[in-house]
Symmetry: C2
Subunit: 424 residues, 2 copies
């Protein structure tokens, strides 16, 4: 096999052969034969040329096969997971995992940390004193059998090809390529061993792919990859024009997730969570109504068991930021726009997110939305709370929010939260 020939074939728009793909991914994951500059050139060629669907299926399977695929047959329940493409204030997993577990499935959620303006589920959970993200495979299977839900960091042997490729794409401007995104996500989810999967593909300014057409293409691609690898997969396109719920920040989001688990919480967050739970319950073949199960209070108990099983203490106080400032609006009217990306960047600047993988995050920092689009506002009314550990961070957050808020004369027409549904 000749690496340069493989790059040239893709550069010139040809479908890579199965042998070329398998050889490339296997050798890149191992290290040695294929140099990073060669993988970067191939990634950029894929950015421009794309991949055919069967070609991408082979590519994804080779990524899965670069590591091990977890065997969850010992769990004794149907397994179903959810993956979100990432948004601002997206604390859905913290509610959904115990909810679907309480419905009777096992949820093996291997998750990641946040980068840039989108938060990561592990960062949120780590705001809970004592909670640890790292579990061995046996611990995971035990916890799923006994509690039903697990949120944990990916183990070392899940798609090592993706770990290397992702680090490379991050520094070579080859992240936003649909085949590369889809194979990265799906290789990890397939390797995780789940029977079925619901994808929450975000659309709007806070989303990774803001345009609905691109998001739909990503959703279709991922659903195809799941199905062709034996994972029943459905995708919902959901709105990310503004923060989901009212909070963006680690401990702030844990508090909000607990509110939903205790029967309250913002309506948009509840709606998206239940829509995803309905899909997961259906894929897992469960005879359960997630809304009724949520109302029963059982998911709150499961969440407590999940946290306790990983050393966390929900009775301890969650971290609270020592400094809070508010952002007000100048005019009266209706809040027309509260830009999702800007709020995400503000929360990041306040300390809730990180610029590089190795950075630490603040558990207490973030943004609270006191008003949401569609709410009537008075002149001078506070609409955002900024939470930070250091007052010096407020300036950068205010700068990020400079053009983020529009007050309008008429009540805006509410937009649907669930934008589309994609199945095989």
């Amino acid at each position: 096999m000749d690496t340069v020939e493989i790059i040239r074939a893709k550069r010139d728009g040809h479908r890579l052969t199965d042998d070329q793909i398998t050889w490339f991914i296997d050798n890149y994951a191992r290290g040695g034969v294929i140099a990073d500059e060669q993988a970067a050139a191939l990634a950029m060629a894929i950015f421009f040329r794309g991949m055919q669907s069967d070609e991408l299926a082979t590519w994804t399977r080779a990524m899965v096969d670069s590591g091990s695929r977890l065997d969850l047959s010992g769990v004794g329940r149907p397994t179903v997971d959810k993956h979100s493409t990432g948004g601002v204030g997206d604390k859905v997993s913290l509610i959904l995992v115990p909810l679907v577990a309480a419905c009777g499935a096992a949820v093996p959620q291997l998750s990641g940390r946040g980068l840039g303006h989108t938060g990561g589920t592990l960062d949120k959970m780590e705001a809970i004193p004592g909670w640890r993200a790292s579990l061995g495979v046996d611990e995971m299977v035990d916890q799923m059998r006994q509690v039903g839900g697990v949120i944990a960091g990916a183990t070392g042997d899940i798609s090592p090809a993706d770990r290397r490729l992702y680090a490379l794409r991050d520094v070579t401007a080859t992240v936003d390529s649909i085949p590369l995104i889809a194979s990265s996500i799906m290789s990890k989810k397939i390797a995780e061993g789940t029977d079925s999967l619901v994808l929450d593909v975000k659309v709007g300014s806070g989303a990774f792919l803001p345009e609905v057409d691109r998001a739909r293409e990503l959703a279709r691609t991922m659903v195809g990859l799941g199905e062709s690898n034996g994972v029943r997969t459905v995708a919902l396109l959901t709105a990310m024009h503004t923060v989901l719920g009212r909070t963006a920040g680690n401990a702030l989001e844990v508090v909000e997730a607990l509110e939903v688990l205790e029967g309250g919480g913002p309506a948009d967050l509840v709606e998206v969570t239940l829509a995803l739970a309905d899909e997961m319950a259906a894929l897992a073949g469960l005879d359960a109504d997630p809304a009724a199960v949520l109302a029963s209070g059982r998911p709150r108990e499961v969440f407590g068991e999940m946290v306790a099983a990983q050393g966390g203490d929900l009775s301890a106080d969650l971290p609270v930021a020592p400094h809070v400032e508010v952002v007000t609006v100048d005019e009266a009217g209706w809040l027309g726009r509260l830009d999702c990306l800007s709020v995400g960047i503000a929360a990041w600047r306040l300390g809730a997110g990180r610029a590089r993988k190795e950075d630490a995050v603040s558990p207490s920092a973030g943004v609270v939305c006191l008003a949401k689009p569609g709410d009537a506002v008075q002149a001078g009314q506070p609409v955002l709370e900024l939470h930070a550990e250091e007052p010096a961070l407020f300036d950068a957050a205010r700068e990020a929010l400079r053009d983020a808020i529009d007050v309008v004369d008429e009540a805006p027409v509410p937009q649907p939260l669930i934008v589309d549904r994609i199945e095989a």
Copy 2:
């Protein structure tokens, strides 16, 4: 400056700013800040997006400025050089450099070694016993003042950015991009310090860019880069459908060049050489007729002085291959096609060329064309001689030549050797 932003800008089709270009090239040449995988991603993005002409001029100037530009003002004659994009049997420089020197110019030809099916001028010269390619800048200037012509290897400080980029492009399938080819060639020729330059852009199966449209685009791009950097530049597009002259191989080509310098040699080789010499004499402002100067025998003396100045001994026997086989044609008729690329690959397989930079070449191996397209042939007539140091190499050469020769029923119409001329 952010490397990822630069890559993303080019990926998305934007013109890079002058600051971005200068920063990138300068830092890549130095090493440290920019990783090879980032340069590879940028090169592939340039492959797809191209560069605007002023953008490419800045890029090329930054490559020149990554090293030093030779000062040839001490030479005391107008300087003019020639660059060929490379072909099979292209021994033109060995005749042209002493010819144009004998016309009154100084020719500072910094040249390279061959790779793949195209030979390199230094490899040919190194077939002469004792000749050394490596000269210091002072030696070069002295030799140009006294003898007029120099053929030598590029010095270490000529466009170090190109040296790094070229090695990278070679392993990442980003060689055949017109802006990258043009800037690579022109950065070296500009840095070499010549006042003017004639480009021999080859067209046809043995050429780097076989199609005439792409060759013309490359020629126009290079002429523009020369002129915008103060080097008067003209390009000829010349035919490379079959071997130029009758030989492809290092010592074999030296012998043929000497034949031309001594008033003989194949007509196609003489025609191309004189066409280039006419352009060079005109650019240098010389009042000389290259054909008459060639007939005078003076260029043969200059070649002897050039060789002797670099330690070479033309009175010594040139290496001769110990094993010779012939390739015959089966039918009578006219030789319609003798494919240039195939002959180039055959010569390479016989040992005249190299697959990797660090390989050695055989001085004596190669191919001699006993007949050329347009010649009448008899059934069973030998049309090629294969020369090798080891008989084991003949099989691979015959395999390369399998579909290279067509015998036709009617004399083929001769095609022009000089296909086009491009000036600013």
